[in-house]
C-alpha cells in the first residue's frame, strides 16, 4: 500500500495513517493521465518511420494514416490531410502494439483457490483500471492483454481480453467483441504440491491423476446440464405449457459455453504428459483447447499440438524455477514454430510484459527464427490465439491503430518505447512522462511536508484506533492496491518465481 510506504519512508508511525490517507485522497500517481484519457485525434499521420508491418514486410521512411482510431492508409508517402496531428517518427520504428497472451494486470484478485473448479468466478468482475501496472506495461509497448485467472485449480475462473486504455474506467477496458476464455491448469499448481496453508486441510486433487479426473468429472456434469437445457428447449419449441426451466448452474454454464465453442480454453501446463492428457480429455468431450500457456515442454509434442490446432503461449528463456520447469529450453518457441504451431511469447508478469519485444528477439538467437517470425511472437500470433487478428496484430488498413513506436529496432536490447497508441490515441508518451516527472515529485513532497507540519501541530488529536479503519474501508481503495493473495514479493530479483510461495499461495506459473 503506497500510503504507508510513504509514511514509513519518513520514519513516522501508523499513528498518523488516517490523516495522511485523507490528505492523499486526491493524490494518485500520474493523476493527470489517470484522470484524463487522451483525446481522440480524429486524424493522425505518423511519418518518416521504419514501419514493421508484420504482415507485408518493412517499409523504410513510410507513413501511417490513422482515422477514427483505425489505420486508414499505410504507404511510402502520404500527404498530411487538413487538421491531421502529425507525428514525425524520423529514425524511429513503428510496430503493431504488443499483445500479451498471459497477464494478471488490472486485476483485484487472481486465484479463487478454495475449490478445484472455480468456473463460476470471472476476472471481468474485478478489473481495476487504476492498477499502475497497466501504465508500466503500456510504457513497454503493450496494447492488449489476456487477463487470466490463476492456476490454483484444474478448472479456474473466466477470463477476458483487455486493451490497456489507461485513464479510462473499468467498463472501457474489455476488448470489444473478443471471445471470453476460461483458465485451466495442470500439474504442480492445481495439485497444490508447492505450498500448503497452515491450518487448512489438503484439497482434492493432490495428484496429476486427480487433476485429470476433476476436469473429466466437471465436463460430464456440464454435458448433463447442457442436455437438460436442450431438452427444455425442445419441449418449449414443441409448445408444451407450464414448463419449469432447469435451475441455472453458474459453475457449469461456462463449461457448456466451452462445449459449444463460445469460450476459449487457456490451459496452464508444463509437461508433455499433461499436455497430451488434456488433448485426450478435450477429444473425449468434444471441445477445443485454444491455447496451452507456459507449455515449456511443448517442443517435445509439437507435432501433436500442430495437429490439434492448439496455440502455444510460452516464456522466452525462463527455466528451473520449479521441478516441472526443469526441461524448459529457450528454443521452445522456435522448435514449435518450425513444426507448424502458432506460438506467442507471454509475460505472466507485469514486469516481464514491459520488455516482451526483447523476449521475442531471443527466438532469433535460440532457434534462428527470422526477424518477422520473432515479431509475430508478440503481435500477430497472440492475436490469432485470442481470435482478435481481424482487429489487431499487424499494421494493415482497416485494423485498429494500436501501435508501439521505438527509437531503435524493437528486437534489440537498446530499444526504448517512445509512444504507445491504442485506437489511434496516444496513451503513452515518453517525453510527456519525463516532463511530468518533476511535477509529480514536487506534488509528493508538498503533501509529505504538509502532513509533517500538521502532525507536529496537533499530535494529540490523532489516535491510531480512530484513524486506521478509514484506510480499511474498501471504498477508499488506492490505485494498484491489491489483495494479499496476489501480492508479489517486493524484493524479487527477477520475474517472480514459484519459490515465493508463502506470499503467492495460489500462485501462478
Amino acid at each position: 500500500m503506497r500510503i504507508s510506504k510513504v509514511l514509513n519512508a519518513h520514519g513516522l508511525g501508523t499513528l498518523f495513517l488516517g490523516l495522511l490517507g485523507v490528505l492523499c485522497l486526491g493524490y494518485f500517481p500520474r493523476s493527470a493521465s489517470a484522470a484524463n484519457p487522451p483525446d481522440a485525434a480524429a486524424v493522425i499521420l505518423i511519418r518518416n518511420a521504419t514501419i514493421l508491418t508484420v504482415s507485408h514486410g518493412t517499409i523504410e521512411r513510410g507513413s501511417i494514416l490513422i482515422k477514427d482510431g483505425k489505420i486508414a492508409e499505410v504507404s511510402q508517402s502520404i500527404n498530411a490531410p487538413k487538421d491531421a496531428q502529425v507525428i514525425d517518427a524520423a529514425g524511429q520504428f513503428v510496430m503493431p502494439g504488443i499483445i500479451d497472451c498471459h497477464s494478471h494486470i488490472a486485476a483485484e484478485s487472481i486465484n479463487e483457490g478454495s475449490v478445484s473448479v472455480s468456473s463460476m468466478v470471472n476476472m471481468a468482475e474485478i478489473l481495476n483500471p487504476e492498477d499502475i501496472d497497466i501504465y508500466r506495461d503500456l510504457a513497454g509497448g503493450v496494447t492488449a492483454a489476456n487477463i487470466l485467472h490463476g492456476s490454483a485449480n484444474a478448472i479456474g475462473g473466466q477470463t477476458l481480453v483487455i486493451k490497456l486504455r489507461w485513464g479510462q474506467p473499468a467498463a472501457k477496458l474489455p476488448f470489444e467483441g473478443a471471445l471470453p476464455g476460461i483458465k485451466f491448469a495442470l500439474g504442480e499448481n492445481p495439485k497444490r504440491s508447492n505450498f500448503s496453508i497452515p491450518g487448512q486441510p489438503r484439497r482434492y486433487p493432490s495428484t496429476r491423476m486427480g487433476v485429470e479426473e476433476t476436469i473429466r468429472s466437471a465436463f460430464s456434469e456440464a454435458r448433463d446440464y447442457q442436455k437438460s437445457w436442450q431438452d427444455y428447449g425442445k419441449r418449449l419449441a414443441a409448445g408444451e405449457k407450464n414448463l419449469i426451466p432447469p435451475r441455472r448452474d453458474l459453475r457449469l454454464e461456462p463449461l457448456v459455453e466451452v462445449l459449444e465453442g463460445k469460450r476459449y480454453v487457456h490451459s496452464h501446463c508444463y509437461r508433455e504428459d499433461e499436455i497430451l492428457m488434456l488433448l485426450r480429455v478435450a477429444k473425449e468431450f468434444g471441445f477445443k483447447v485454444r491455447t496451452f500457456q507456459h507449455v515449456l515442454e511443448g517442443y517435445k509434442v509439437a507435432d501433436e499440438l500442430a495437429t490439434a490446432g492448439v496455440g502455444a503461449s510460452t516464456f522466452s528463456d525462463w527455466w528451473a524455477y520449479k521441478v516441472e520447469a526443469y526441461d524448459a529450453i529457450p528454443y521452445n518457441a522456435a522448435l514449435m514454430t518450425r513444426r507448424g504451431v502458432v506460438v506467442s511469447i507471454n509475460s505472466d508478469d507485469a514486469e516481464e510484459a514491459t520488455h516482451l519485444n526483447q523476449e521475442a528477439a531471443k527466438s532469433m538467437k535460440f532457434g534462428g527464427l527470422s526477424h518477422d517470425e520473432a515479431l509475430k511472437m508478440v503481435t500477430l500470433n497472440p492475436a490469432v490465439q485470442l481470435g482478435i487478428d481481424n482487429r489487431v496484430g499487424t499494421i494493415d488498413v482497416g485494423k485498429d491503430a494500436d501501435l508501439a513506436i521505438y527509437n531503435h529496432d524493437p528486437l534489440s536490447a537498446y530499444a526504448v518505447v517512445q509512444k504507445t497508441l491504442i485506437d489511434g490515441r496516444v496513451y503513452f508518451d515518453r517525453q510527456r512522462d519525463t516532463a511530468e516527472h518533476s511535477e509529480r515529485e514536487k506534488e509528493k513532497k508538498a503533501l509529505i511536508d504538509k502532513f509533517k507540519k500538521s502532525a507536529e501541530k496537533k499530535p494529540e488529536d490523532k489516535k491510531p484506533d480512530a484513524t486506521v479503519p478509514i484506510l480499511q474501508k474498501p471504498a477508499e481503495k488506492k490505485p494498484g492496491e491489491k489483495k494479499p493473495e496476489e501480492k508479489k514479493p517486493e524484493k524479487n530479483p527477477g520475474p517472480p518465481l514459484e519459490s515465493a510461495a508463502p506470499v503467492l499461495p495460489g500462485g501462478e506459473r
Binding site: Y331, H355, A361, S412, A413, E490, G494
Partner: protein, 376 residues
C-alpha cells in the same frame, strides 16, 4: 564477421584439457583496460594472456557458461532472492569461481571473497497464512524488531572483535575455538568485505553508517534505492552490486523506468557498481540488463565494465581477471557481435586459457527434439 572478444564476468564445471596455445586473429578486442582494438590479435599460452595485440588486455553452470559468463560470485543461501529475513542476518561466505573445473578446487578463484550480511528491513506489511490475509504491523513494532536484529549484528561484530583480539594475543590453548567468530575475524580486521543486502534507502543508509562506525568494508547488494543515497555511497566508497534492472520499481509512484535509469544516475554520481543476476536461472539475462542500462543513458563502456572489470575490482580480483591484459587469467569470450545484444552468439569461450565446451542440457534437448521424426 566481426568477432568481439571480451572477458565477461558474472556468477557459479567443464573439463580441463591439456594446456594449448591459441591465437585469436582479426578480432575487435574489448580489452576493458583501454580503448577497444579494432582488428587485433590475442595470444593465449599456458592459461594466461601471454601477449595481447597491444598491452591492454549443476546444469546451471554449462547453461550459464553458454551465455558467455566465465566467472561468478557464488553467494550462499540464495542470498539474492529473499535477501532479508531468511537464513539469519549473517549468511555465510561468498566464493569467486571459474565456471569450469572438475572439482571445486579447480574452480576456485577466491574461496572467501565476501561475508554475506542480510540487513534487516523495517517491514510493516506482513501476510498471515492462517487467515490468508494481509496484516499491517504498527511501525513501532516493526521498528522494534528491526532494532533487535541490528543489535544482533552489532553483538556478532563485537564478539568477533574480541575473538580476533584473543586470536592475535593468546595461544590457541587459552580460548575455546568458535568457528563462527573465527570466520568473522577477517571481517572485523577489515580484510574481508561485507556483502550487505539492502534495497530501501533507509536501510542502506543505516547499513553504511553501521559499517563506517564499525570500520568494516562494505559492498552493497540489491540497492534498488541506491540513487537516493548516492552521495553517501560515493563519499564512503561503497560499491553496489545492483539487482537486475528487469524488476518493477518498489513504489507505485516511482517512475516506470526508475530501475532502468538508475545505473546512468549512479555512474554520473561517481558510485561504482556492477550488474548481477541474483538468480541461477536468470544468469543469461546479465548482458540484457547491461544493455538495457545503456538504452536508459549509461555509457556503453561503463556497461561493459560493469560485467567485467568492476565486479572483479569490487572483490579484489582485478589483478587476475576482468580485463584482457598481458599476464591475466585468460577468461574470455569470442562473439559474433555486440556481446551485450540479445541476438549475439558466443562463438568460443575460454576459461583459464582453455577452450571450454558450450554444450549444455538446453542445446542437447534442442538437438534431440529437432531430430524427432514427424509424428504420425
Amino acid at each position: 564477421m566481426l568477432a568481439a572478444v571480451c572477458a565477461l564476468s558474472g556468477r557459479a564445471c567443464a573439463q580441463s584439457q591439456p594446456s594449448a596455445t591459441y591465437a585469436l586473429t582479426h578480432a575487435k578486442i574489448f580489452t576493458l583496460a583501454g580503448s577497444a582494438i579494432e582488428d587485433g590479435t590475442l595470444l593465449i599460452r599456458d592459461g594466461k594472456i601471454a601477449a595481447a595485440a597491444v598491452s591492454p588486455s549443476s546444469e546451471h553452470i554449462p547453461v550459464t557458461r553458454a551465455a558467455g559468463i566465465t566467472e561468478v560470485l557464488a553467494v550462499p543461501g540464495g542470498g539474492g532472492f529473499d535477501s532479508n529475513g531468511s537464513g539469519g542476518v549473517i549468511g555465510g561466505q561468498a566464493s569467486a569461481i571459474h565456471l569450469a573445473g572438475w572439482t571445486i578446487d579447480e574452480m576456485l578463484i577466491k574461496k572467501s571473497a565476501a561475508m554475506v550480511l542480510n540487513w534487516p528491513e523495517i517491514e510493516t506489511h506482513t501476510f498471515d497464512l492462517t487467515t490468508f490475509s494481509r496484516k499491517e504491523k504498527p511501525f513501532s513494532e516493526a521498528k522494534q524488531e528491526y532494532d533487535k536484529q541490528v543489535n544482533e549484528i552489532t553483538d556478532w561484530v563485537e564478539r568477533a572483535r574480541h575473538y580476533a583480539l584473543a586470536m592475535e594475543k593468546g595461544s590457541a590453548a587459552r580460548y575455546d575455538r568458535d568457528l563462527k567468530l573465527e570466520a568473522l575475524a577477517p571481517v572485523v580486521r577489515g580484510e574481508l568485505p561485507l556483502l550487505v543486502f539492502a534495497d530501501r534507502s533507509r536501510e542502506i543508509r543505516n547499513a553504511v553508517e553501521f559499517c563506517d562506525k564499525q570500520g568494516l568494508r562494505m559492498i552493497l547488494a540489491g540497492g534498488s534505492e541506491a540513487y537516493k543515497v548516492k552521495d553517501l555511497l560515493r563519499s564512503k566508497s561503497v560499491p553496489v552490486i545492483l539487482r537486475p534492472l528487469l524488476t518493477l520499481p518498489l513504489d507505485e509512484d516511482d517512475s516506470y523506468d526508475r530501475l532502468l535509469s538508475q545505473p546512468a544516475e549512479l555512474a554520473a554520481a561517481g558510485v561504482k557498481f556492477a550488474f548481477a543476476s541474483f538468480d541461477n536461472s536468470f544468469a543469461r539475462r546479465l548482458g540484457q540488463n547491461a544493455a538495457n542500462a545503456v538504452a536508459y543513458g549509461l555509457p556503453y563502456d561503463e556497461a561493459l565494465k560493469a560485467v567485467t572489470l568492476y565486479p572483479a575490482r569490487i572483490f579484489g580480483l582485478d589483478g587476475q581477471i576482468g580485463t584482457l591484459e598481458q599476464g591475466k587469467i585468460a577468461n574470455l569470450i569470442v562473439t559474433n557481435g555486440d556481446p551485450l545484444e540479445l541476438t549475439t552468439d558466443v562463438m568460443y569461450l575460454f576459461i583459464r586459457g582453455q577452450r571450454t565446451s558450450m554444450d549444455n542440457r538446453h542445446l542437447r534437448l534442442y538437438e534431440k527434439y529437432s531430430k524427432r521424426p514427424k509424428a504420425q
